[in-house]
Symmetry: C2
Subunit: 226 residues, 2 copies
């Protein structure tokens, strides 16, 4: 990949939108390109964290494994988004694993180089604070759901969250939804089946379309028995 292409990719990322061309190419010079096949892992939980990543193309999921072996999906990321940053900013091993879902290209940015870069770019630092704040907010909302809500409401919240980021057509299997909502695949299927019958969503293999966001929102907030 040419340096100019790297700059182009970084520029599209929200994190670096405040940088000028010169700064972008400086950062591009610090970055390393890596490519991954579908299902290949970018890093594993516990690995030394020397790099964080910005996605150039493809989709990445970040997961943790429970002691039972069950997988929990922390997040999906798309081109322009960063991942692996928690570990890098803390200087500790990665707290989760990252796996490519499709053929993917990412730019890896070295921890120490980036920290040095940040020390003179307060705007970028503020942007990162912003992004981390948003992720923390999401995480806290999900914590509350997992701790206190029933499966149906958990799934509804997940669908609404995904819809707000990606639109009403969601490219996820029921298994993936289940792993995000902390339930089994069977339960996710039964729930989506029920929602389909009520005309709230439409499902096909590996995809789910939200038809009636208002009803879904009502479901997410209160129990169906009003």
């Amino acid at each position: 990949m040419l340096p100019a292409e790297k700059s182009e990719i970084l520029k599209k990322s929200l994190i670096f939108s405040s940088l000028n061309e010169e700064e972008l190419s400086g950062l591009a010079g610090l970055s390393v390109e890596r490519s991954f096949q579908p299902n290949e892992f970018v890093f594993w939980e516990g690995d030394e964290a020397d790099y964080f990543y910005v996605i150039a193309q493809g989709r990445i999921k970040v997961v943790k494994h429970a002691s039972s072996g069950k997988e929990f999906i922390i997040a999906f990321f798309e081109p322009g988004e960063m991942f692996g940053e928690v570990a890098v900013f803390e200087g500790k091993p990665y707290p989760a694993s990252a796996q490519a879902l499709s053929a993917s290209k990412v730019l890896g940015i070295n921890r120490q180089n980036f920290l040095d870069f940040l020390a003179t770019r307060p705007k970028v630092a503020l942007r990162i604070i912003n992004i981390l704040g948003g992720r923390l907010r999401d995480a806290q909302g999900r914590l509350k759901d997992l701790a206190g809500e029933r499966v149906e409401q958990r799934l509804a919240h997940i669908l609404l969250m995904l819809a707000s980021r990606m639109g009403n057509t969601l490219p996820f299997t029921r298994q993936e939804l289940a792993d995000m909502a902390g339930m089994t695949t069977e339960t996710a299927i039964r729930l989506t089946g029920g929602l389909s019958e009520r005309g709230i969503i439409r499902t096909s293999r590996g995809q789910l379309v939200i038809l009636d966001e208002a009803k879904l929102r009502a479901l997410a907030e209160g129990p169906p028995t009003v």
Copy 2:
């Protein structure tokens, strides 16, 4: 409170440890002191977020309420720690409520003033990135637990996390532990009862002492049936 006292409090906080005296007093000038009675709320979920806070004295808990009315405790904070920052850095309403547990004093720092301050203090920004990263890591670990582990393992994880921050004597009621681990008070009592019988912990009203951290760790990792 005198400006010098404010500086003193800020200085003790990890966030501002890189500041010199002059910077500290500048920041102290931007801060407002507020006092709270036990059980009084510092802010409510959904309030406009103009300030974030550093604790001078007392203990604060940050909570969210599920649709059922059940309370979920996101975190407890002690003197020197900051809270309410997620909302401030995002410019959105508070995502949770903050309640004083004991008579408390806090320093409130205005959002816009602080963002201006940060724009010329990259070290403080990096420290905040660090703290947010740590909180995000914690939150992700708890997400995985809530999604995939049984109550006993969830409780064990919570106890270990608290112990690593506060030592082996934990000043929490079973109700509070239950609200952190996403279970009912009755379940928390039954579980702690079992742990006491096995000599792993000792409990009294509003307090829990960890006696055998190794056994607790074993419990947290794997199912009890080895």
